[in-house]
Symmetry: C2
């Protein structure tokens, strides 16, 4: 047994992404225009799978195969995790991922004599973005799921992960402001890596009402968030613009959710992996308020890619849980900072970088998505 | 408050089916041949929905939206329940049901100003029957789900329910014997109705090893199961034939599950509805042994169609729970008695009525399904 890593200031991985965890790949499928403003994101695990757990903290989840992760069954081995728009309808994306995995030879073999019978485990959670692109029925289906898992499989190891209004974050909205998807990672002193990927569609606000900075700004590593504190004038103007946007019609409010995935290469038993998912909920609480409301789905999947051999720990070292809290909160900040304004048939969804242009002056990348037009 | 009904001998409803509960309809979609031996069954609830709960007692469930039924969220209102073959792949059937319900104007309206945005809640559970028809990928999809919900909607009120090798029971196998789907109901002295619908794919045996009678035979109402006790010779011959069939290859064994639905018109609050689901698990334990193994899915959904007004009881009267236990166990016996032998590409799946022809002499209906042929 190597000594437990010593806690220290946050050190992100090379990509500061969930893909910094060995064997973890991410693929997005994005649908914008022709009534669509939604998408699906797949976290593809090593072919042998990963020890999986889930924690549901919100009152209104839309999920698949969370019951299969119940610790009372002794632990589950998942092959991929799906985060998707489209609410319960969007769960159809998981079907396309199941089919792709089986065609690729991945999954459990429940019937030893029939190796062609493969049963991958693909837990999934959906967020509510119905109608945001203008057409209620324009939501992810199995084909979108296949596209996302294919993109993940075709990405190189340790690839960077696109953030903002892509994949499951495409149609996300949080407290009247444009949401999105974000990622982050932490490397512990002992070399253990913890990664987070989060789609932010929260009912609560991700912003500190006093300063206008993201609530979890101070969780970031040195220089991780290239922001300046908004001036009083910029903050006041932003609040005014946000109030306008908050009055934007229908489909931009409830129900909401934050859905995410945590991965690590620390060898953990199933109950320890569950503590990782719970730690993610605590990180969410640092970045969003109010959080875990009755209309939020707030579902977090956690995975250890290290397998559950004799080395699998019953208790994650405190530094691993702390890293999970921090990485999850930091991923939420990245989701908000990478989100861009979108013109929808309902009106404009303003992004943080548009609300606080001077505070975000040092942020790279575009500030707006092309309008998705009306149906 | 009317006085609690007095327990008495079991009195089945007019159809002895889950459809004896007012507003509850059932539809099957069955796929046999061309590699298929599977199907989907939908329990369609009143358009305003029903108070829903779930209990998962097996170690290997395949489910959708069980987390949405968590009592900690205060209770959920479901619009339909899906039981399906196809394991996790078959959960796609629920997507077709969601689309049909929304097109029919059913579902919650999460966004008041956008009445076209409808979000039905459709919890679902799947059983493992992959490959039993000869083709691994021949499983229920959204179209099969749509066919089943349409069949339910087009059925008259209080319609009889087809049993045996139809819908979710089509490909079911239990302990090497052909399984199926069954239903039963009980009317309490006060007029309250409790109904059960169960797809029997159990790893454990539904038969009393000593007598060869179904384990829950004695739970039946007077004359409910027209069986005679098998002679020693018939029982011995059946055990021999079953052992042969038990050696039938691939796809006929693990994983297994019993999935079912309980409904009542008793006004119950969500926690009381959950007790109904738990009672169903106890009924299952009377009809199957061993039960709730790590490889069983054993998932029961319970629903009260009476709504949760001030009249909703916090505790189901004991007679309601007793009726739920009995109805669930009796539905399992009906599933076994109505199942028919099937010729599959793997060999013959023998039914109870073929194993015990003399004991079943008084049972109506066919003894075999047309063979499903080979791929």
């Amino acid at each position: 047994m190597s000594p437990a890593p010593v806690p220290r200031g946050t050190v992100p991985g090379r990509r500061n992404a969930i893909t910094d965890v060995p064997g973890v790949r991410v693929g997005h499928a994005t649908r914008v225009g022709d009534g669509f403003l939604t998408g699906t994101t797949v976290v593809l695990l090593p072919p042998s799978g990963a020890t999986a757990a889930v924690d549901v903290a919100g009152g209104g989840p839309a999920t698949r195969d969370t019951a299969a992760l119940d610790l009372r069954s002794g632990g589950a081995n998942a092959h991929a995790v799906v985060l998707t728009g489209g609410s319960a309808y969007g769960l159809a994306a998981a079907g396309g991922v199941l089919e792709w995995l089986a065609a690729d030879g991945r999954g459990a073999q429940p019937v030893g004599e029939a190796p062609e019978i493969l049963l991958p485990l693909v837990p999934a959670a959906a967020l509510f973005d119905l109608g945001r692109g203008g057409v209620f029925a324009a939501r992810p289906d199995a084909a979108v799921g296949r596209e996302a898992v294919r993109a993940a499989a075709n990405s190189p190891a340790f690839a960077p992960v696109a953030q903002g209004c892509v994949g499951a974050g495409t149609g996300a909205v949080t407290a009247g402001m444009k949401g999105g998807i974000g990622t982050a990672s932490t490397v512990l002193a002992g070399g253990t890596v913890v990664g987070a990927l989060v789609a932010v569609n929260a009912h609560g606000s991700t912003l500190d009402p006093a300063s206008g900075l993201p609530r979890a700004f101070h969780v970031g590593a040195e220089g991780e968030f290239p922001l300046t504190t908004p001036s009083g004038a910029e903050h006041a103007a932003a609040q005014h613009l946000l109030a306008e946007s908050g009055r934007a019609p229908t489909g931009l409010e409830l129900p909401n959710t934050v859905i995410g995935v945590l991965t690590t290469d620390a060898p953990l038993d199933p109950a320890a992996v569950h503590r990782l998912a719970v730690a993610g909920q605590r990180g969410m609480a640092r970045a969003v308020s109010p959080v875990h409301t009755r209309t939020d789905g707030d579902t977090i999947f956690a995975l250890s890619v290290a397998g559950t051999g004799a080395g699998a720990a019953r208790d994650p070292v405190p530094a691993v849980l702390a890293a999970a809290e921090d990485a999850f909160a930091r991923a939420i900040v990245h989701a908000v900072l990478r989100a861009v304004s979108v013109v929808t048939p309902f009106g404009r969804l303003v992004s943080y970088r548009e609300l606080y242009p001077r505070a975000c002056a040092a942020l790279p990348g575009p500030r707006t998505l092309p309008g998705v037009g009306s149906r």
